[in-house]
């Protein structure tokens, strides 16, 4: 009896110790990526391809590469419904996962949520990668060491759009008197491009009209009546969710020429144009990567994530604009981890180490080829001071079935935008008592 008790006790102790050891080992070998998603709610049509893109890329890393340099990638979703309050709750929930692993970095995929997370993440020392959204001033890494918004920002995009219009109109001198209307989502996100557009309108003599559309943007008759009266030469849109498809439909209803209607990169996905039917043919939008499923990365995903089932992959948004954008986003994050590992060793990276990885990220043409993304986007190199890089944009156009690239890469007007960024960053720092670091 005594022997039996001792044996059972030893067994329990052994299992316990081993269990803890196994758990610790699993925790130790894990690089945790939190996912703030919105698969439900009014912005779900945009949120679903985004969430699927992150999930598929992280799964691909594990299945194809065995993780990042042997460290298993884990991820966990939290539903925000694109609601800022829920987004902050999700951040608090996913700072550490259920196994205790600390978050690698956050991709909020909402400008409103990003605004709220900037001070929190700075204190928690967790990097934020708000790729092409969020607070534009965060491009100044001296004041925002924990926030990154490369490859380009709303302000850079707005300047590149003006450059595109100048080319279409036949030169910079032709911009004088050109009428441009900016139709924007009445939110922090939608308003981001306004300062740049206003500044450029003054410089080039553009007649700019700013037209706000309230959330969610299902009813826009008044906006488009104003456009009908104004007869602008170009309409630029910063929309999201249902606002985009309704705007395209309303533009068509007033017979506005669709090839002079350009959305920003959050107003140019399949979910924006398909509901508007044939009327959306000719509509344009900005982008900073290619659309479609023609790259090697997509073949890898079909093979490793979907077991060769291309139809299932397509049903999960493979190749759609927002899906591809998320692949790019997830790639930047994982490459930052890989960059950090090159310095700190092949083990799970901490927030501080990942920040170093982000600030030293150098995704070359060769590396893009290795990742199966050659030609899908441009190479990028981040620095301590510049968390944006003023990356170029391209213009894509919807032909009724797919997006086609209709411009060359357009470089933003860095000479105008960067001083504005630095000024805004300085003002933010003054408001929040932030001392800039030297880079």
């Amino acid at each position: 009896m005594k022997f039996r008790t001792l044996f059972l006790g030893a067994l329990v102790a052994a299992v316990g110790v081993t269990g803890i050891a196994v758990q610790k080992a699993a925790y130790a070998a894990e690089q945790f990526f939190p996912m703030l998603v919105y698969r439900t709610g009014p912005y779900a049509p945009s949120g679903i391809p985004v969430a699927n893109g992150f999930r598929d890329y992280y799964t691909l890393l594990n299945k194809r590469d065995g993780g990042i340099n042997g460290v298993t990638v884990t991820f966990e979703e939290c539903e925000t419904k694109y609601n800022t309050k829920l987004g902050v709750e999700c951040y608090e929930k996913l700072k550490k996962n259920s196994a205790g692993a600390k978050a690698t970095l956050f991709n909020p995929f909402s400008t409103g949520i990003t605004y709220q997370l900037i001070p929190k993440a700075t204190v928690d020392e967790i990097p934020i990668l708000s790729m092409g959204y969020g607070r534009t001033a965060a491009a100044d890494g001296r004041y925002f060491p924990w926030v990154f918004n490369f490859p380009t920002t709303y302000w850079s995009q707005a300047s590149a759009f003006i450059k595109y219009v100048s080319r279409q109109e036949g030169g910079w001198d032709k911009l004088k008197g050109v009428k441009i209307a900016h139709v924007y989502h009445n939110s922090a996100y939608g308003k981001e491009a306004n300062p740049t557009l206003t500044a450029l309108a003054k410089i080039y003599g553009i007649k700019l009209t700013l037209l706000a559309v309230d959330h969610p943007g299902q009813e826009q008759k008044a906006t488009w009546l104003q456009i009908r009266r104004l007869k602008p030469d170009w309409v630029f849109m910063s929309g999201w969710g249902v606002m985009n498809s309704v705007a395209i439909k309303e533009a068509n209803a007033i017979n506005f020429p669709m090839d002079h209607f350009v959305g920003n990169w959050w107003s140019g996905s399949e979910g924006d144009v398909i509901p508007a039917g044939k009327g959306s043919i000719g509509y344009k939008s900005a982008a900073f990567h290619g659309a479609g499923a023609n790259w090697k990365i997509h073949q890898d995903i079909i093979k490793h994530v979907y077991g060769g089932d291309a139809a299932k992959a397509k049903a999960n948004n493979l190749g759609e604009v927002l899906y591809n954008r998320t692949l790019v986003n997830a790639m930047y994050g994982s490459e930052a981890v890989r960059t950090a590992m090159a310095k700190y060793g092949n083990k799970p990276m901490t927030g501080e180490q990942i920040r170093w990885g982000l600030e030293n990220l150098d995704v070359t043409e060769k590396r893009l080829g290795e990742l199966g993304m050659k030609g899908m986007l441009l190479p990028i190199k981040i620095s301590c001071a510049d968390h944006e890089t003023s990356g170029p944009i391209i213009i894509q156009q919807w032909d009724g079935t797919k997006w086609n690239i209709v411009s060359k890469w357009i470089k933003p007007m860095r000479e105008i935008v960067r001083p504005m960024v630095e000024k805004a960053a300085k003002a933010y720092a003054k408001e929040n008592n932030i001392t800039p670091r030297s880079c």
């Binding site: 679903i48 008044a222 249902v242 439909k249 209803a253 007033i254 509901p275 039917g277």
Partner: protein, 311 residues
Amino acid sequence: MELLNILFVAPFLDMADSPVFFAEVVITGLLTGIMYSLVALGFVLIFKASGVFNFAQGAMVLFAALTLVGLMERGVPIPFALAGTVLVMIALAMLIERMMLRHLVNQEGIILFMATIGLNFLLEGAGQIAWGSNVKVLDIGIPDQSFEVYGILLNQFDLFAAGTGAVLVTTLAVFFQKTTIGRALRAVADDHQAALSVGIPLKTIWVIVWSVSGIVALVAGIMWGAKSGVQFSLSLIALKALPVLILGGFTSVPGAIIGGLIIGVGEKIAEIYWGPAFGGAIEGWFAYMLALAFLMFRPQGLFGEKIIERV
């Protein structure tokens, strides 16, 4: 001085300068107002017949449209898909009566209201689980070409929606005023117990009124879904119907229409002529301001029943 000019002079000069454009603004407002009325009607029907403010009306619009487009995506021809959706909405009404209303007979209005809040979340979730959250294209062949009449741009789709709204209101007004069931519905709304005591089958009446409201939700879902695609945001159009209800009265079918027209025209004029003074996007809150202003003079709304209670 500048502010006074922007608020009290410039808008009126603008209207006088471009009377054709002003007419277009008014007509667009009227047509938009009918779209709001389509949603408001569903609220009115249920409130009129059961005294319940149905918080789930927006979710019913979404649920009906999702069901219709879900059936169409599976290859069901449009007439059968429409019939199938109507049956689903009737089945839903029966379920609501059996699972929810039956247990709340003669309860306070606030309790019934809270039950509909729960129903709202249930329908939003069930609709998305059953049919997914991706945006779906709804095309049942309603033409949407635009054309000009005396310089005023009109759209076939908007006119079709207006015609549909007119037919719906006429039918419902006749139904409530001229039929036995209609009178029974009104009796139930006045007093559950009194209606029961004179032999009105309360459960049947509730099923009928929730079914009719479900069908109205389907019509609203088709009209709004054809404009924007069928997606979750359809459930938010209920917010557009609220000022219409406040203004028109919760118990009047014609009130829902007149209220819709006033709100539609009012918000469009406000947005276009006064919007720039406030930075734009004022039509959302202006509709509520307009409704509140009416409330100050007619708390029961334009056509609502005046409630006089002994204290």
